[in-house]
């Protein structure tokens, strides 16, 4: 609770013009936001750009944050989520020269990132990036960031029931995708999804 009060106070200070509060918010939440952004984006550069844009937006309109609606982290996650969504909408306007999404994902990742990741993790990341944005974000928030459902519901601005059903479907799609990449063996497990 004190943590939230601190953030609320920082937001109030930022609204009053104290940019030091912005630095504190970045130091506190920057890594988590970058993790979420990295899980969502193909390239590290894009992920960092989007995190930077999120803090620019916060600096522009700190008064838009309403403590009654949720925590500062949830608010920042919501802003970042909108930025990511816009980023992918803008990317759709450009023609990709490589048709295969996985090949594009591999191309966009920097060599350092590729070396750092194990082959299995790289395949897993590709499978994640092939999921629709809606499903990718729910897995990123619930399974990677391990946020509680009510926090995810606040970030996505939807009911908790929607979070649950969306997460169920996202996991099922991810499982099928991983099975197609032979990272998961579904032979000894019952099918998890009923495809409509």
């Amino acid at each position: 609770m004190k943590k939230n009060c601190d953030d609320t106070e920082r937001m109030a200070r930022l609204a009053a013009g104290d940019t030091g509060a912005l630095r504190e918010l970045y130091e506190k939440h920057g890594r988590a936001l970058l993790r979420f952004s990295s899980a969502m984006c193909r390239s590290r550069q894009a992920a960092e750009d989007l995190v930077h844009d999120t803090f620019v937006a916060l600096l522009r309109g700190p008064h838009l944050f309403d403590p009654a609606q949720g925590t500062a982290f949830n608010y920042l996650c919501g802003v970042l989520r909108h930025r990511i969504s816009r980023h992918f909408r803008q990317q759709k306007r450009w023609v990709t020269l490589v048709d295969d999404d996985s090949a594009a994902a591999a191309h966009d990742a920097s060599p350092a990132d590729e070396i750092a990741r194990s082959e299995v993790s790289a395949e897993f990341r590709r499978a994640m990036l092939e999921l629709p944005l809606q499903h990718r974000e729910i897995i990123a928030l619930c399974d990677l960031e391990e946020l509680p459902y009510h926090a995810v519901a606040a970030i996505l601005q939807c009911p908790i029931g929607t979070v649950r059903s969306r997460l169920h479907r996202a996991r099922a799609l991810l499982t099928i995708r991983l099975a197609s990449l032979e990272l998961v063996d579904l032979a000894d497990e019952p099918p998890l999804v009923q495809l409509s």
């Binding site: 013009g17 940019t19 030091g20 912005l22 630095r23 970045y26 920057g30 890594r31 970058l34 993790r35 990295s38 899980a39 590290r44 960092e48 995190v51 930077h52 803090f55 620019v56 600096l59 522009r60 750092a116 990741r117 299995v120 993790s121 897993f124 990341r125 994640m128 897995i139 399974d143 990677l144 391990e146 649950r164 997460l167 169920h168 996991r171 099922a172 991810l174 499982t175 991983l178 990272l183 998961v184 063996d185 579904l186 497990e189 998890l192």
Partner: protein, 171 residues
């Protein structure tokens, strides 16, 4: 909902989660953030708020409508505002016998004879006739049109009550 997660998927997710935990902002991002903090709100290029943008576009649309309406109004005034005196002046400038409809015409009788080629050609009325002579009635209207009314044999024409001879059908 964890029961819906496949154990192998859960393991992969855990592995990926641990790798993501190591993700740290790059020095470039830290530097950008430091510049952002140092610059403050005043130095950020401000975007127009949505309401101001809406007002701007509404004003532009309003100006456009006003410009079009003014154009239509001025055009109507120019069209309707032609003084009656000017119209009368234009009418007076026209020739007295000018008419838009062919009300007057002149009828001519041209003597003609068949030539060796089998066509009717005009001949001198005072010249001695060697062949059969015809009168060609030509009507010239004042709109410039010329119409052959009829062709009658010369001797037939002179007899009172005789048939008219060849009569051309005009549309």
């Amino acid at each position: 909902m964890t029961e819906s997660l496949h154990p192998q998927v859960a393991a992969l997710l855990g592995r990926y989660r641990r790798e993501l935990r190591d993700t740290a902002p790059s020095d470039a991002l830290d530097a950008r953030m430091a510049r952002l903090v140092a610059a403050g709100r005043e130095d950020i290029p401000r975007r127009r708020p949505p309401l101001r943008r809406a007002v701007f576009w509404a004003a532009a649309a309003g100006l456009g409508v006003v410009a079009i309406a003014a154009g239509i109004f001025i055009g109507m005034r120019l069209e309707r505002g032609t003084p009656a005196a000017r119209v009368a002046q234009q009418e007076a400038a026209l020739p007295a016998d000018f008419s838009l409809w062919p009300a007057d015409s002149v009828a001519l009788q041209i003597p003609a004879e068949y030539s060796a080629q089998g066509t009717l050609v005009a001949v001198d009325p005072n010249a001695h006739s060697t062949g059969k002579r015809y009168w060609i009635d030509v009507v010239v209207s004042n709109d410039g049109t010329v119409r052959i009314d009829r062709i009658v044999p010369a001797e037939t024409k002179r007899k009172k009550g005789a048939p008219d001879g060849i009569t051309l059908q005009t549309p």
